[in-house]
Symmetry: C2
Subunit: 261 residues, 2 copies
């Protein structure tokens, strides 16, 4: 059954009206995406960064310079239909805003990249009876900055960010296979168990989002995460960038099933 397109539009209008909340579980069945807007001068570097790092940065759409429109949701306005934005100046987080219209106007030539998000395969994981702990907890998914470098592209470099979901040991293989059918939205996990192998010292202290409980018999499963571009912004210091706030995604009109292979 196709999900009802009204749910995606309504969720975006709620965001536009001022709702600020993580979007996991909202408008189920519709693709949620990460966002980064950069001055055109940085667009080549970023598109190449995505090509060279397809696991954390699968680019699903690129706007024309200066446009706030995307083919992923033709009616939407990228400047105001996300619940929360971050504004970056010289690689430093300068502001967090529910509406980016004003800062967007500072640069006439922003190119916006929309990047696949692991929320896309949460619906099929849940349909398979695998609990998403952060949704059950009503919190944001925990994300960690790893020690694994991305492949550089021009002036852009940085380390990979991962999201983590605790999965019962007997279901881990299934979770890997189900998510692996969605390569355009991070695909299969990059790491299963052994957080120290990613340089993560303490699972209870995520770098982004909220901690979740890992119960006995569960294994932490790590997926490449679309917050990686924000880590690249911090490391590479472009003069200006607008991104979504971690977990506060842009909800598109595209059904999740579109990305399944």
């Amino acid at each position: 059954m196709r999900p009802d397109p009204d749910t995606a539009r309504k969720a975006r209008l709620d965001c536009r009206a001022g709702m600020i909340a993580p979007t996991a579980g909202l408008a189920p069945g519709f693709t949620q995406v990460n966002m980064i807007s950069l001055p055109k001068d940085w667009a080549w570097d970023f598109l190449l960064f995505g090509q060279r790092n397809p696991k954390p940065c699968p680019v699903l759409d690129v706007t024309d310079p200066g446009s706030h429109r995307t083919t992923l949701a033709p009616e939407a306005d990228l400047r105001k239909d996300l619940p929360l934005y971050r504004v970056w100046r010289d690689g430093v987080l300068a502001d967090e805003l529910p509406d980016a219209t004003e800062v967007w106007a500072e640069h006439a030539d922003l190119v916006t990249f929309l990047i696949g998000c692991s929320f896309t395969f949460e619906t099929p994981l849940q349909q398979a009876g695998i609990e998403m702990r952060h949704i059950a907890q009503g919190s944001n998914v925990p994300m960690y900055l790893t020690d694994r470098p991305c492949r550089e592209a021009g002036r852009l470099h940085g380390q990979m960010v991962v999201s983590m979901r605790p999965i019962p040991a007997a279901r881990v293989a299934e979770a890997a296979m189900i998510s692996g059918r969605f390569p355009a939205v991070h695909g299969a996990p990059v790491h299963i168990g052994a957080p120290e192998g990613l340089g993560i010292a303490d699972l209870s202290k995520p770098d982004f989002g909220d901690p979740v409980q890992v119960r006995d018999g569960e294994v932490p499963v790590f997926w490449a995460c679309g917050v990686t571009p924000q880590a690249a912004v911090m490391a590479s210091k472009p003069p200006f960038a607008i991104t979504h706030a971690p977990g506060h995604m842009f909800i598109t009109d595209v059904p999740d099933s579109e990305w399944q292979v």
Copy 2:
């Protein structure tokens, strides 16, 4: 079993030494790729064209401007390790050469794109007992210019090119599923049967490559093809481009299995 890396290197050295032949079936198990080199001024348009048209143009690597090296085969020289090159001037085929070193030197800033090729899933198809007619015939795979427009990117536009393999009706679903596991190298077919639906009037007259026999009980199966950039060159007329000759691919060191999801 991992394929023997020497077979890929030897095939490239044969090409360098002057061997001119379609590469289907050569160095089985190693990824073969399409190539296009464009002046840097056109690189953004092309990378965006690939992002917007991932079925025909899955970009697997992008060189630095002026470089003839790729991470897909670090020892190789992209100027001479393909069996046959095409040189394009203002969108017109100007030359076909077994060595592109001289024409490559005309532009100091060429950016080279390496693009997935459907030959990658031919090995698993053959392992499943599905005959590749063009390999059995010792000929080049047939390719057709369709009437299906690609999504434009800057100055680049054009119609999609497809490759065709006749498959027994009872194996078509399996062929779709096996190739579908390789989204980075064109993935599942874009069209099965009914060639007129792609604007193909006569299967015996391919636009590129050689015709193959379609036997009773077989269905023509069409995959998006990495010759699409050449159709875009003809339609969009960049001042200069070097490509591989259709079917005469670059053989990388990357095992085909790398692209399987």
